[in-house]
């Protein structure tokens, strides 16, 4: 009888030990993927699966920020970014053995632009009225023509996983390093090594090194952190500053600061002519000197030091310092100088009485800042702004709202005075910010959907943004985008507060990891990752 009990026990222990030492990488995502269709990924969890399974024509190297060939060995742009011709890699196969050819690219583009599919990836390619046409020139050569120039066209292909036109597995056939082997709803998705993956390492060994990747669904970041500490997961893409500090204190090799990221926090005043804002407050909010004085009275360095434990930088503008090509290096962070801020306000007719700042009409300077409830860092930031501005006599009321109410106020009713919110610039190219800077856009947060630009500097930004979008030479585009950054710095429609560092966790057993501030921070080179046995 004992033998019968002992046997399953041994099997269980052996299986557990193998799971620990086998090459199965594990990490967590926050929610169940909304869709496993490669062209329908829109949130983090679907994006992770697509990144790990999808084969793309070209890839932006997250370390160098350069574009590198993948399934396309070369490409040629023509007709002012309207047409692109790809030469494809020979000998590549999908995960079920179906050969890859130009027909697959044509099929993918047809699916991507199908209005019935509603692909969020496809939206970026919609440049104008008319159809996108794809011509198969040869088995390994394909040409795609767009009705109008597409901004940032080449880089956009980094996000397009190629589907198979002929595989019986349809969109589940993968060209990337892994394919979906098992899906337990709400628990995990198991990806297994694609035996037909085309890429090889320098020694000619077929990649990926890992046998499998288990993507687990875990909402709580704290539980994720505890599991990481216990060795149950190997990677964390976004580590909260508190957890980072705690891990770092225990064992500095558990966490890494991958450098400043495009994840920024910013404050803006409502400059739209909303009825809910009294005329005298509207006059403050539309005054450049008022905005600059407020900006100057905020201690960004303290925010970075206290809230992010030093893992953030005072923000300068819409481009983070790690965006090597597009950042305007001439610009420096706004200095913290409350006395200069007060002097500037007094120059504009403001005065102080019993410590309270009054405008030239005698109205006490007081406004509310809304932010989303439940984001502790953001609420702390609002409390710090409150104390900083109290030093120059400005009274700030901090209001935390549930996210839905907040979005309704900033995008629909415009019933708010100032808002503190974050913005993630995952894309390096300035075209990804067209929807923010063009005054006619609904995401032009401080005064959305303007019929004509409300100020000369907004008209100037409109002109520069349109000019850079249609220019073909990147250096010319950079000059135009540099000027936009300068205007944003001078006018401060957004008071940029901090750029957060990309804090990640990579288990010491994961080899070849090169964390990047760009998404997906820890596993962007997943095909090169390997697992060493624990203790090595």
């Amino acid at each position: 009888m004992k033998r019968f009990v002992l046997f399953p026990l041994i099997v269980l222990i052996t299986a557990g030990a193998m799971a620990q030492s086998g090459s199965e990488l594990r990490f967590c995502v926050r929610s169940e993927p909304k869709s496993l269709h490669p062209l329908l990924a829109e949130e983090e969890s679907s994006g992770a699966i697509v990144y790990l399974t999808g084969g793309v024509l070209l890839r932006v190297n997250r370390a160098t920020q350069e574009i590198e060939p993948e399934l396309a060995t070369s490409w040629k742009l023509s007709q002012e970014n309207r047409t692109i011709q790809f030469t494809l890699r020979s000998g590549a196969h999908f995960s079920d053995g179906t050969p890859f050819s130009a027909e697959d690219v044509a099929y993918t583009m047809q699916q991507l632009m199908d209005p019935n599919l509603h692909s969020p990836t496809g939206d970026a390619f919609r440049s104008g009225e008319g159809k996108v046409t794809t011509k198969v020139i040869a088995p390994l050569r394909v040409e795609i023509a767009f009705p109008a120039p597409v901004a940032n066209l080449v880089r956009l292909f980094d996000t397009v996983p190629i589907l198979s036109a002929h595989s019986p597995q349809k969109e589940m056939a993968a060209l990337g390093p892994f394919y979906i082997a098992e899906h337990k709803a709400g628990t995990y998705i198991l990806l297994k090594r694609n035996p037909y993956y085309w890429k090889k390492d320098a020694q000619g060994k077929q990649l990926p090194y890992l046998d499998a990747v288990r993507v687990e669904i875990q909402q709580s970041r704290e539980i994720e952190a505890l599991r990481y500490k216990r060795g149950e997961v190997h990677l964390i893409n976004v580590v909260l500053p508190d957890i980072f500090e705690s891990f770092g204190a225990d064992n500095s090799s558990l966490v890494r600061d991958a450098g400043v990221s495009g994840d920024a926090e910013q404050l803006w005043f409502n400059q739209s002519p909303a009825k809910s804002i009294p005329a005298y407050k509207h006059a403050w909010f539309t005054s450049t000197s008022f905005r600059r004085a407020v900006s100057e009275a905020i201690n960004r360095a303290d925010m970075a030091r206290i809230i992010y434990h030093g893992h953030a930088q005072p923000a300068i503008g819409p481009v983070f310092a790690g965006n090597k090509f597009w950042v305007n290096n001439k610009l420096k962070p706004h200095p913290y100088n409350p006395s200069e801020a007060l002097r500037s306000l007094k120059g504009d007719g403001f005065r102080q009485e019993n410590g309270q700042l009054l405008d030239k009409l005698g109205n006490p300077v007081e406004f509310s800042i809304i932010t989303n409830a439940g984001n502790h860092a953001r609420e702390s930031m609002a409390a710090m702004v409150q104390q900083d501005l109290a030093k120059i006599g400005i009274k700030v009321n901090v209001v935390t709202l549930d996210f839905h109410s907040l979005i309704e106020r900033i995008s629909d009713t415009f019933d708010y005075e100032a808002c503190l919110l974050g913005m993630l610039n995952a894309d390096l190219d300035p075209n990804s910010q067209m929807n923010i800077w063009l005054s006619s856009e609904p995401n032009h947060q401080w005064y959305p959907s303007q019929k004509t630009p409300a100020t000369p500097w907004e008209a100037e930004i409109d002109r520069l943004m349109r000019a850079q979008a249609s220019a073909t030479d990147d250096h010319q585009r950079k000059e135009l985008w540099d000027r936009v950054q300068e205007i944003a710095w001078e006018q401060e429609p957004f008071i940029y507060l901090v750029n957060k560092d990309a804090l990640v966790a990579v288990a010491p057993t994961v080899k070849n990891a090169r964390p990047s501030p760009l998404y997906p921070q820890t596993y962007w080179n997943v095909e090169e990752l390997a697992l060493a046995p624990a203790g090595h």
Partner: protein, 273 residues
């Protein structure tokens, strides 16, 4: 023996609540600094002579914040409880007194209120409030909302009590003697409902303290920089599993003690009733 134990715990509860009330009344003298003052060079500090309970992540003195936080919870929760008991007495008492169709209509309204997910309703109502109100006005509004929305369960109890009283012999006798309307309510109904009303009032106080704590834990309670027991609990959300500090648990301990003391007094009230 049981009676002596009850008296002892009751005395302790009264003593602790009195001490808490005293501390909150004189918070201005007892607190070493303002609840909003940020000592930015001493964030997350341990207990010291300068900061008895250490500081929070913005460097605010935790002892001062607990004192002021208790003031808000201990003063405004009874206010909200009084409001909800008054509404419960009006609706429940009227339903029990009138009986028949009027009672069924009132109880339908009560059931309707009980079926509303009050937390979502509170969040929605709070989102509709004007933005430029002071934190003090905001917290007062939050507790008033709790009072206005939290009367339904008590109304059912009061209604049942009033119905039983209306069917009692002494009330039949009073009616036969010519008592009716306001006089009957004032002289017979209300004095006999008083123990139930007092018990409902006492029960509501810890319920509202915890309700505000729930809202505070969601970040939707008291606005910054004003503290409440609820908003102070939010400290436990950030990294406490990984690097717990005993001082972070003080607001939780205070909340448990305050609610526990109220519970002991409620039990005593129920025994008396």
């Amino acid at each position: 023996m049981t009676g002596r134990e009850t008296t002892w715990t009751q005395k302790l509860a009264v003593g602790l609540l009195a001490a808490a009330l005293f501390a909150t009344l004189f918070a201005g003298y007892l607190a070493p600094s303002g609840y909003q003052t940020q000592f930015r060079e001493a964030t997350n500090a341990r207990s010291s002579t300068g900061h008895l309970l250490g500081t929070d992540d913005l460097g605010r003195d935790r002892f001062s914040r607990v004192l002021y936080g208790m003031r808000i919870s201990l003063f405004l929760a009874p206010l909200a409880a009084a409001l909800s008991t008054l509404l419960a007495a009006l609706v429940g008492g009227l339903a029990g007194y009138l009986g028949g169709t009027a009672e069924r209509c009132c109880l339908f309204v009560v059931d309707l209120f009980l079926s509303i997910p009050w937390l979502f309703l509170l969040i929605t109502v709070r989102a509709l409030l004007p933005l430029n109100i002071s934190p003090q006005a905001s917290v007062l509004t939050t507790f008033l909302l709790l009072g206005i929305l939290g009367w339904a369960a008590s109304a059912r109890v009061i209604c049942a009590g009033a119905r039983n009283l209306m069917a009692s012999d002494f009330l039949w006798l009073a009616r036969a003697s010519g008592f009716s309307g306001a006089k009957l309510v004032r002289l017979h109904l209300l004095p006999n409902l008083r123990p139930a009303l007092l018990a409902q009032f006492a029960i509501s106080i810890p319920v509202f303290i915890i309700a505000e704590a729930n809202l505070g834990a969601l970040g939707l309670g008291v606005s910054e920089p004003l503290p409440s027991l609820g908003s102070l609990l939010r400290e436990l959300q950030s990294g406490v599993l990984l690097h717990p500090s005993p001082w972070q648990f003080v607001p939780l301990a205070v909340l448990l003690v305050v609610v526990g003391c109220f519970q002991i007094l409620i039990n005593q009230l129920e025994v008396t009733a």
